[in-house]
């Protein structure tokens, strides 16, 4: 028991070192290619601005990862929430009401996921994959019902909400407000996961379900609520995206689940087993990706290189994790 604990500690440390090395390397390369302005206010703002909402989504989704369930539908939920919020707001309803409805819509689909996975005990990958496909389609359908005079397509509803846009884009120096909020949430979550009883319970349920049940933990309830969390986070992010982008594009959220989960895995989480990973690690994982992507952007290179980097880094991290005693695929 003690040795597995030590093992667990070892490989949650591992990613941090690798990430720091990556960050240092990217900094050096960027200094050489882009120059000192890599660290300027506007560049840092660029990096953190891009990373703010994925971080929020990732932190909410980390609940379900920790409890041993991977929710692949978060990207589609973001798109659906954005579509719902945008379309409703074209009917001149109270914006807070629109936002709440959008989040509630996501929560209901999250509940559907949970019923299938926890209630029917269906495979989480299959269920959330189905949800991913279904909600992406639903978002496009919702986008058709907008009430605006602007000629929109079902590929996006143009909805420019000045107040919300200003809020989502505002910052103090290089720190966007959204990022600050997301980071504060990350740190709170870090404390909850590592220090509180709830955190220990979630990790227990994700790490060893049978033992957790035997110990009397409300495993089903924990898993259920974790799926609600990931759905809720996606819902909130969707609303904020509408503020940022001035529209609900149907391309919103496509592929986001892969970037977020790749980042979380780079940071020490696993989509194959629960109970491992910590929020700060997840943040660092996202930071590395955003940082590299920023280098590519500044140099004007093809953005596909970011995908290649992401794939390679992911493999490297997971491999190192195995070397440190993680679960090898036999």
């Amino acid at each position: 028991m003690a040795s597995t604990q030590k093992n667990r500690k070892k490989f949650t440390e591992g990613p941090s070192i690798t990430i720091v090395i990556c960050i240092v390397l990217i900094s050096l390369v960027s200094l050489q290619g882009v120059g000192l302005s890599t660290f300027s206010t506007d560049n840092l703002y660029l990096i953190l601005n891009y990373l703010a909402l994925p971080l929020l989504i990732g932190m909410f989704a980390s609940f379900s990862l920790l409890s041993g369930v991977v929710d692949l539908s978060i990207g589609s939920m973001v798109g659906l929430s954005a579509a719902t919020f945008a379309v409703l707001s074209t009917y001149k309803l109270n914006l807070w009401l629109c936002a709440i409805i959008a989040v509630l819509v996501c929560l209901s689909f999250g509940a559907l996921n949970a019923v299938a996975i926890v209630g029917f005990k269906a495979n989480p990958i299959a269920v959330t994959l189905g949800m991913l496909v279904a909600l992406r389609g639903l978002a496009r359908i919702v986008n058709m019902f907008d009430n605006s005079e602007v000629l929109s397509s079902n590929d996006g509803t143009v909805v420019f909400i000045d107040g919300l846009n200003t809020f989502t884009e505002s910052s103090i120096s290089f720190l966007p407000w959204l990022f600050v909020i997301a980071l504060v949430f990350t740190m709170i979550l870090q404390l909850v996961i590592s220090k509180s009883r709830y955190g220990r319970h979630i990790k227990a349920v994700g790490g060893d379900l049978t033992a957790a049940i035997r110990a009397g933990l409300p495993a089903s309830r924990i898993k259920f609520t974790s799926l609600l969390f990931s759905a809720g986070g996606a819902g909130i992010a969707g609303v904020l995206y509408v503020g940022k982008m001035g529209s609900s594009s149907s391309s919103l959220g496509t592929g986001m689940e892969f970037t977020v989960y790749a980042a979380l895995m780079i940071g020490g989480y696993s989509i194959l087993r629960g109970g491992v990973g910590n929020p700060i690690g997840g943040f660092l994982g996202l930071l590395v990706i955003a940082y590299f992507s920023n280098y590519i952007d500044n140099m004007g290179f093809d953005t596909r290189f970011t995908d290649v980097f992401l794939g390679a880094l992911l493999l490297a991290i997971v491999y190192l994790d195995i070397r440190r005693g993680g679960d090898a695929y036999e």
Binding site: V127, L129, V308, L310
Partner: protein
Amino acid sequence: MTINSFKQRSNPLNLKRTLLGSGDSGNIIALLVFWIFLIAISAVNNAQFISKTTFNAVVFNMCILGILAIGQALVVLSGGILDLSLSVPLILSGCLSVIFYDRGWSTIPLILASIFISGLFGLINAFFIVVMKINPLIVTLGTGFAGSGLLLIIFSRAMVNPKSWIAGFGTSYTFKVPSAWWPMLIFTVIAHIFVKYSRPGRHLVAVGGNPVAAKVSGISLARYRVGTFFAASLISGTAGIVYAAFTPEIRPSAGTLYTLPMIAAVVLAGFSLAGGAGNFLALFISVGFLSTVPTALVFFGLESLWEPFFQGLILIVAVSLDAVRTKKSGNRE
């Protein structure tokens, strides 16, 4: 059922189950019922649904997806969870076949070379999985990403010559059904016979269903894993030729269109993502069912926009019901 539980399978009951393939007939019947139901309500809504044209339209929908699903199913069956990178050999083979044709290669070498080269991609996956022992889900996620990125950088687009046999293959008929359907039919039969009646096939199922017991009885896990991922890529490469036949202008970005549907087809057919269970006849029916949905939707007057929504919903319901069914019969993982 979580991924965790596939580590817990070292009890003898599972070995018996995988060898006897229980639950298969239940699956096939359930799927057939679904399919017939769909056809029935479509026909009631519009009698013209039952026609040769509809049949052909559905068959064409099945051609590429069906072949890809077989490759994916082999991976799932062998315990490889999922291969998320199969769109890469699909597009690679399609583009290569066009390039070789333009260079004047004759038919057989062209086909063999395109398929073989795209099969090599599967060996890259196999390396990470067998040598570096990284989980296939993560490996193929990474290689899928990287591979698509590389494809976009290497190929901008490939145009199929409308006078070529490749284009002709896409529109011709053999024995009264579309020619492009035959690869899928042949692969289905071969896969089914292989898995059910041949020794290596049964060993493959054992590798997926109970790797510990398989290893103990002398089966080389590594060899079967390498073979499976190589085969999946080869099969995907074959689908690539059909894809070239259907798509006069191949764009590397379009490959990911099939990733989710092929996984849906495999899951819907009752293949357990933990490995060791699944039937290729059921897969054929599931592909058929999923390929009928879009056509049926059009007959109902719904835009193709509703397609993904229904497909996703069907998958969720089917998987949930299937979980209840396997739980009830005491075969819970």
